[in-house]
């Protein structure tokens, strides 16, 4: 009689790797209990592949549902979930897609799928009360430059090697042009979502760097210096005002 942990290891191997030989002798039920255990294997694969297809509809639009399903089928064997909420499963599926030899003709698939993952994540965010300019004005000006800022939960900054934001806008608007050429180009994107609403904005490198560093916890002064290194014309004061106007900030840290 195997220990419970060993029994569960054997069942796990049957589900994930279709290895039924080791588990069969300990099962009962019908004349071929392993065939019945295969119901659980079928559910494991079908439910997780379906979860990925549901999570990546834009990627399926880009490369085809068959390609996503094929990759997802391989992915769920190689990478069983390590999260308990299936909505959180598949964060590294974009990297997996990028490593698929069959998708080498679509070199921007990883960037596009990574953008889609973030789009899905922020679209269900809920805004917190925004920091207003009036509140910001009350901050001690001497210490302001060493302060950092807390952003809304539904804001993500991404730098990508392909302009996949343009592709994503086409997908979201459902207005497909007759032709669209993708050429590699560093793209700086802000993805903002809340309660189902979504905005994808391309930013100049300096503005993106300022916002990205602020969001990662850097002080206003440090973020401003980095932005000024990229663009001497960058105006940190105006950039802060803009962040308040867009309700992107919730408070000073």
């Amino acid at each position: 009689m195997p220990a419970l942990s060993e029994t569960q290891r054997l069942v796990r191997n049957a589900l994930v790797q279709s290895d039924f030989d080791a588990v069969s002798p300990i099962l009962v039920g019908g004349h071929d209990p392993a065939a019945r255990l295969a119901i659980h294997r079928r559910h494991y694969h079908a439910s997780l592949v379906d979860a990925l297809r549901t999570r990546y509809p834009a990627t399926a639009w880009l490369i085809g549902d068959v390609a996503v399903t094929t990759a997802a089928t391989r992915y769920v064997i190689a990478h069983p979930p390590r999260v308990f909420c299936i909505a959180e499963f598949g964060a590294d599926f974009p990297r997996f897609l990028g490593s698929e030899p069959s998708l080498s003709a679509v070199p921007y698939v990883e960037a596009f799928a990574a953008l889609e993952w973030q789009v899905g994540r922020v679209a269900v965010a809920v805004d917190s009360p925004a920091l207003t300019l009036a509140h910001l004005a009350t901050a001690d000006s001497a210490s302001l430059m060493s302060s950092s800022m807390i952003f809304q939960p539904g804001v993500v900054y991404m730098a990508m090697g392909w302009p996949v934001d343009a592709l994503m806008r086409i997908y979201l608007s459902n207005q497909v042009p007759p032709q669209f050429h993708m050429t590699p180009a560093t793209t700086h994107v802000e993805v903002r979502g809340a309660r189902g609403a979504l905005h994808i904005t391309s930013l100049p490198p300096a503005a993106w760097t300022f916002r990205h560093l602020l969001q990662s916890g850097r002080a206003i002064g440090q973020a401003a210096e980095a932005a000024l290194d990229l663009d001497p014309q960058f105006d940190p004061g105006r950039a802060l005002v803009e962040l308040c106007d867009l309700s992107l900030l919730t408070r000073l840290a």
Partner: protein
Amino acid sequence: MFPHLSGAGIGLRLPHLADVVARPPRVPFFEVHPESFLANPHATELLLTIADRHPVSVHTVGVSIGSASGVDHAHLDRVKQLVDLVNPVLLSGHVAWSTHAGEYLNDLLPLPYTEESLKVLVEHVRQVQDAFERPYLVENPSSYVGFGDSTMTEPAFLTALVAETGCRLLCDVSNVYLSAHNMGFDARAYLDSLPAAAIAELHLGGFEAEPDESIPGATLLVDTHGTSIDPGAWRLYEYAIARFGSIPTLIERDNDIPDFDVLLAESRLARAHAAAALSRNHARAV
């Protein structure tokens, strides 16, 4: 134990959330899977609006009290945060396991009914009840296979678990019907052998028949939660109500989710079946 909760509630899934907020239906209670909300703050916001208006039961699907590798306390903490916000009328989970060595297998997997399994579940139910500071209801599984080394029946296992932990039972009537068909036991005898005083909730969900590859010509019932409730499960439900009394009941649908009105109709049907069973009991008594 829960005098304020009765009738047939509905399993509330994400596609119906916004409609239920916009047009609150007359439903005795809703039941939700917390794992559907933990990564979805917008859905949680809608759920809290609903919880202000309706009793809500929380039915965990990822706690995995049967895992030999232990309950994941980080997950338990996340669920507890939601439970504290919702303040559910019932909190439940499954006599099953879903995790192994840090992997989550997204299914409710069968356990051997042995002393070792019982010890594991007793420990984990205690941990869960301590963490949530409220009673935990445990649900009987739907079964396609068992284990040759099981030393007790499922009802005996559940009865021992109740005795050791003080937990309550969520009796999924459809699972009993399905498992009885698949594993070849008497569904009514199964219900008869459960500790009636521990039953705090009933579940009803749809299942589908498919050829049983292990027995030529036979069918296997598969727990899909994707169809309406089978007439045989309704008959067993009446038997369960006759035996356990007026227990809060949940209509579950997780796949091929229909219009909400379809679920409302099944909720009313459950109420009618329960009333029929109770009136027959009453008639016998007089």
